[in-house]
């Protein structure tokens, strides 16, 4: 078919608007494309590989750059490099690869370079159960790199949310100039379900702030933040001649190895998320208006919890659920409100690890917290959660 007679249909659209029956991992990849992914650098690892394979096919066809790196350390380094050159970037991995990424997550945090990392959690530690579910990276994703920094972490519990929250992660990374994460789990990543992809014009993209003065302006300081604590970002090759370093640096970006500079910089990169937490936090409440027992669950475990709460209600148990959609910042305000409303008597926290989410719940309430844990390899069933609600 010659171009002259070709139909006016883009056979490789960036956004595949419409209804689909789609794998969670593929929905994540499609979300990244819809969010404007320019550069993907990654390394194959179960159970995230389908994200990479999908993008190997799709990204070059829409004009993006796909590179299979030599390891996960290089993957993060490469996406940070592409991001400082102006790209919207992502990588995807699972536990063992995620551990390797920690070094450069800290670099992205202190250089304030927007990056998106997808971690499809599997049963861990180490090689663990590579093809089976886990939810044991909830704390590593927040605290895994050394030092104090801030991140934004979304936890999808359906393929639809894999699509939606990957877009949210791109927007948050750019808006706050932080590493942001899509913290999936193997069940959600390998689940096929209905995914509705909206028309392209309905998909909101938020881009990083850019300098308002031309290159060479003496008033431009690459790390001088605005009132929202986020500095505008100049890209490589634009003439601003920025210097970015993993060393503690001043507003010029120059190393300044003093306690005072460190205090100012680190407080700011933590505060830019902490002080905006109410704007960033997302959660879902189910039947909490009169609930005496509130389940706190996320990812695939929230799917079991949803069923358990419905069945408990049929049995006359006043159960409800708080589902953190952002694990970090944690929806602590709503949790404290529930804990203090005089109706809630206890919380139940099912999770596929030996007690990570419940630590955070404990921090925000003095009410009893019933733990329900499995180290990984199997979902926690609705029956098990119902049993905990009845206990």
């Amino acid at each position: 078919m010659t171009p002259a007679t070709a139909p006016a249909i883009d056979e490789h659209p960036r956004v595949i608007s419409g209804d689909h029956f789609m794998l969670g991992d593929h929905a994540c990849a499609e979300g990244a494309l819809a969010a404007g992914l320019d550069f993907y650098g990654g390394y194959p690892i179960t159970p995230s590989t389908e994200i990479m394979e999908h993008l190997a096919e799709r990204l070059p066809a829409v004009g993006g750059t796909f590179v299979q790196m030599e390891d996960e350390i290089a993957s993060v380094a490469a996406i940070i490099g592409a991001s400082v050159a102006g790209a919207r970037v992502m990588t995807a991995t699972s536990g063992p690869g995620f551990s390797l990424m920690m070094e450069n997550i800290g670099l992205a945090a202190i250089m304030e370079v927007p990056i998106v990392i997808v971690d499809v959690q599997r049963a861990s530690p180490s090689t663990g159960l590579p093809t089976s579910v886990g939810q044991s990276d909830l704390l590593q994703v927040r605290w895994g790199s050394h030092g104090d920094y801030s991140v934004i972490v979304y936890c999808p519990s359906s393929p639809q949310e894999c699509f939606d929250l990957t877009i949210a992660a791109f927007n948050a990374a750019d808006q706050y100039r932080v590493p942001s994460f899509v913290l999936m789990d193997e069940i959600v990543g390998h689940m096929t379900e209905r995914v509705v992809v909206p028309p392209q014009e309905k998909i909101q993209r938020v881009y990083r702030k850019r300098p308002s003065v031309p290159p060479g302006s003496p008033e431009f300081l690459p790390f001088k933040a605005d009132e929202d604590l986020v500095p505008p970002m100049a890209h490589a090759g634009e003439g601003y001649k920025v210097h970015m370093t993993g060393l503690t640096h001043d507003e010029r970006g120059y190393p300044s190895l003093t306690a005072q500079t460190h205090e100012k910089l680190i407080n700011r990169i933590v505060d830019k998320v902490r002080l905006n937490a109410d704007r960033i936090v997302r959660y879902e409440l189910i039947n909490t208006e009169d609930a005496e027992i509130v389940v706190v669950a996320l990812g695939c475990t929230a799917r079991s919890a949803r069923r358990a709460v419905a069945r408990a209600r049929m049995k006359g148990i006043r159960a409800g659920m708080l589902r953190p959609i952002t694990m970090w910042p944690f929806p602590q305000t709503v949790l404290k409100e529930l804990a203090g409303n005089g109706v809630v008597k206890r919380f139940v926290v099912p999770e596929i690890n030996l007690g990570q989410l419940c630590r955070e719940v404990h921090r925000h309430t003095a009410l009893p917290v019933t733990r329900l844990n499995h180290p990984g390899g199997a979902m926690i069933t609705p029956d098990q959660i119902l049993e905990a609600l009845e206990a």
Partner: protein, 278 residues
């Protein structure tokens, strides 16, 4: 300031260096400053606009180079300068990205990235300032520390065989391989200008004195003594078989081969572009 010092208002390299960051942190007698100066001199003579040059470095004394050059510059994590630079060079192929780092950073902790970037023929110019030790941490042995050399982690003498970096770079696919010392500023400048205008993965090893970390425990004396040692032992041989370019500092009279060893045409790595199948 000592009497007799000459104070000047400006310097020809002022627009190429971040003059406000000088003086640098490097020790007296160190060769890194010479490399930085030669690099910015080559930028000016490269025919490529200054704004299109990007400098990326890793960690260590040589890693500090990026902080002094007045181009977009990125001082990254230990060993990761090459994949970081790959992200820039691959996403923005019109930029000319140079990695400046040390022997430990590039070939120990960063060794895997080095060989894969060369294999891919990533459009990078990589300058390895080889001072035979980890200087920033106080003089420990690394993958280029010569046999029998003393260091803080080889107090009985280094017993590991070191890398022959030009041989390594050629074997893994570099389109350009050279070795010079900080004494050879003219040759190095010419090599840099030539390499800046080539495609593919280009590698220049630059032997540098480190009087603090390497010279002192090995009784080499000051930086000048180490330079005189190079002057005495260096043999320019552009056509040498790179299997023979090992550096043996135990044999006081064995030659140190330098030169522009490899210069082949190899297209730069470019991401796949898939044509729309209309």
């Amino acid at each position: 300031m000592s009497s007799g010092a000459i104070v000047v208002e400006s310097h020809p390299a002022d627009t190429l260096l971040r003059a406000e960051r000088l003086p640098h942190i490097l020790c007296p007698g160190c060769g890194i400053g010479s490399v930085v100066h030669t690099y910015v001199d080559a930028i000016a003579a490269s025919g490529i606009p200054q704004d299109k040059h990007v400098c990326v470095s890793g960690i260590g004394c040589s890693g500090r180079a990026a902080g002094y050059v007045n181009v977009d510059s990125y001082h990254t994590t230990h060993g990761r300068s090459i994949p970081f630079a790959l992200g820039i060079a691959t996403y923005r192929p019109e930029l000319h990205v140079t990695v400046i780092s040390g022997d430990g950073d590039l070939t120990a902790i960063g060794g895997n990235h080095f060989i894969h970037a060369a294999r891919r023929s990533v459009a990078l110019l990589v300058l390895c300032i080889n001072n035979f030790n980890y200087g920033m941490t106080g003089g420990q042995a690394g993958p280029t520390t010569p046999l029998s050399a003393m260091s803080r982690t080889t107090p009985h003498g280094c017993w590991e065989r070191p890398f022959n970096l030009p041989f390594l770079a050629q074997a893994v696919g570099a389109s350009y391989v050279a070795r010079w010392t900080v004494l050879h500023v003219r040759q190095l400048r010419a090599a840099l200008i030539h390499a800046m205008n080539k495609e593919g993965f280009r590698f220049i090893e630059i032997l540098s004195p480190c009087p603090t970390g390497f010279g002192r425990p090995n009784d080499i004396g000051d930086g000048i003594s180490e330079m005189q040692n190079y002057l005495r032992r260096c043999v320019v041989d552009n056509g040498i078989d790179l299997r023979q370019t090992d550096i043996d500092l135990t044999q006081q009279d064995s030659p140190i081969y330098v030169g522009d060893f490899v210069d082949v045409d190899r297209p730069s790595f470019r991401p796949q572009v898939v044509q729309h199948a209309h």
